[in-house]
């Protein structure tokens, strides 16, 4: 009995250390974003001035707006595609389904650098899609909709399908059933996938960097361009906002999940 307790204590200590390892750098830049230290690497005194500076920085504001537009369009399109694809994959059985599923996995597990460079060559040398919003949004849909497919597919596997059967027994067509019965019931899962895709698109750097072309600076590209100047308080504030955004998204998703559990 005593041995067991020691084992759990050791494991607990290791776990806490791992968590500190994952969080300490992030927590420190959050703390430093409120510090007057002009290199953003130490704690001097409390200040809000970097945040004020951030909001008056035109380059940051443009990049932020651009990132928000891209992520917004990506979320809507990817979630729509993800929903119907997941439904099709769940309901239909056909030859080549396994191959299709594996192909959909590819953009998720592939290194961004391969996807990014292949798309860049494709856009500039083959179909001539202008670099900027069109190329970035297409690239984001390419790596975000597969993610939506598997998130929503996961929800569907835990879903109670008897409602759908009832609706179809009562004579509703499959499309009508989906719009009136299944869709609304799957809504929390679909929303959860949207919550996850938003940061995925908003944060993406590597693929965006490749297909953005000149002048289409998104927020991560702006951060990257500032990195060579070392740490700056302004990047600390941007980082803090990024983390806050992700946490809000995750919290909303957890709440939605709870709602699905209690209502389903």
């Amino acid at each position: 009995m005593k041995k067991k307790k020691i084992a759990s204590k050791v494991l607990g200590a290791m776990s806490v250390l791992t968590l500190i390892f994952l969080w300490a750098p992030v927590l420190l830049i959050i703390v430093f974003s409120f510090s007057t230290n002009k290199y953003g690497v130490a704690w001097d005194e409390f200040t809000f001035k970097w945040y004020l500076k951030l909001f008056h920085n035109d380059a940051v504001r443009d990049a932020l707006i651009r990132s928000l537009i891209i992520a917004g369009v990506t979320v809507v399109v990817s979630t729509l595609i993800g929903t119907i694809t997941a439904y099709g994959l769940y309901k239909l059985n056909f030859k080549g389904k396994q191959f299709l599923r594996t192909s959909i996995l590819l953009p998720i597990v592939f290194p961004s650098i391969v996807t990014g460079s292949a798309l860049l060559v494709f856009f500039t040398r083959f179909i001539h899609i202008p670099l900027g919003y069109p190329s970035i949004i297409i690239a984001h849909i390419v790596f975000c909709s597969p993610l939506a497919v598997f998130i929503i597919l996961g929800r569907m596997q835990r879903f109670d399908w008897s409602w759908e059967e009832a609706a179809m027994d009562l004579g509703a067509t499959r499309v009508r059933t989906f719009i009136r019965v299944t869709g609304p019931q799957l809504m929390p899962g679909i929303m959860a996938s949207a919550m996850l895709i938003f940061p995925w698109s908003f944060d993406d750097f590597v693929i965006t960097y490749f297909v953005a072309g000149v002048g289409s600076t998104t927020l991560p590209i702006y951060v990257f361009s500032q990195l060579r100047f070392g740490s700056t308080p302004v990047i600390n504030t941007i980082g803090t906002l990024f983390v806050a955004l992700t946490m809000t998204g995750m919290l909303l998703m957890f709440l939605l999940q709870k709602k699905t559990k209690t209502s389903g």
Binding site: S8, I81, L105, F122, F150, D203, G249, M250
Partner: protein, 300 residues
């Protein structure tokens, strides 16, 4: 009777088949279009480009050559590829060594804090990768808090160089990818049937023996899917070697980035990207064949 039924049967089968084709088109054509046009076609094009030449000013010369492929497979580039594979393997092993204990702890002793623990691991995996790397760089930099602390404690008299060393790259890789190992292992451990564990104990297995003979084999799927999520992207890393290795430590991803941006040799870059993609597709195929598919899809 038999003869009468047959035509109507085939007609029904035909109708069912036509309906299936219609439904596949309705539900799956958008994703098929995306995959074919924006994943397969670009890969095919860079495969084509990898057999072309680069001109003096970085333009593409349309003449067939094996030059790039030969360059990729030999000498310096080949060495960088091997180093990437080695670094990815090392990262994978380290992530398992650090990830398994925490996943195990959360499953067994998490109790009412379980959700919070998982939340604390999911948030880093979903928050900006670039920002997290930047944060780590801030800490280990010359003016960073680690050097500051060591100097204040008079352990060292001047800042030690952590950035731009192999250690920094290894640290950065584990820092970036660890959450993606913890989560699938956790999912696998959560899915374990308690009664199997009890049976092992009842039959007299010691905790250590029970872990290695029962728990570890049963969570193989989680380890496998975690390894896919960590190993494959790590081989193609570019940001981590770029930020933590400077120009000293290169990985396969750095080479691809270099050929597509600064130097601008698209055929050579394409060969490097194709080589990377081929290696990874092969690894992915073997892993899925080995039984990782279900676990992988679950992990996502």
């Amino acid at each position: 009777m038999h003869a009468l039924n047959k035509p109507s049967m085939t007609q029904a089968a035909k109708r069912a088949k036509r309906k299936l084709v219609l439904e596949i088109t309705a539900y799956l054509s958008p994703i098929i279009l995306i995959i074919v046009v924006f994943v397969f076609a670009p890969l095919a094009i860079i495969l084509f480009f990898s057999f072309l030449k680069s001109g003096e000013y970085g333009q593409i010369v349309y003449s067939f050559t094996f030059e790039n492929i030969r360059a990729v497979l030999s000498g310096g580039y080949g060495k960088v590829f091997l180093q990437s594979l080695y670094l990815a393997l090392q990262t994978n092993v380290l992530c398992i060594l650090f990830g398994y204990p925490i996943a195990y702890y959360i499953t067994r002793y998490g109790g009412k804090w379980k959700t919070l623990w998982i939340f604390m691991i999911i948030v880093p995996s979903w928050s900006s990768y670039l920002i997290r790397l930047y944060a780590l760089k801030t800490i280990i930099g010359t003016n960073g808090i680690i050097n500051g602390l060591l100097m204040n404690l008079h352990i060292i008299s001047e800042p030690i160089q952590i950035l731009y060393t192999p250690f920094a790259v290894a640290l950065g890789l584990v820092f970036a990818w660890l959450p993606f190992m913890i989560l699938p292992i956790y999912a696998a451990l959560e899915g374990l049937d308690r009664s199997v564990l009890e049976a092992a104990t009842d039959l007299g297995a010691t905790p250590v023996r029970r872990f290695f003979r029962v728990i570890l084999p049963l969570t193989r799927g989680g380890l496998l899917s975690g390894s896919i999520l960590v190993f494959i992207p790590t081989v193609g890393e570019w940001l981590v070697p770029h930020i933590f290795g400077g120009s000293k430590i290169m990985m396969a991803g750095s080479l691809v980035a270099q050929k597509f941006t600064a130097v601008g040799n698209i055929p050579l870059g394409s060969s490097l990207a194709i080589m990377l993609a081929t290696t990874l597709i092969l690894i992915l195929y073997l892993t899925i064949k080995w039984g990782g598919r279900e676990a992988l899809e679950k992990a996502i």
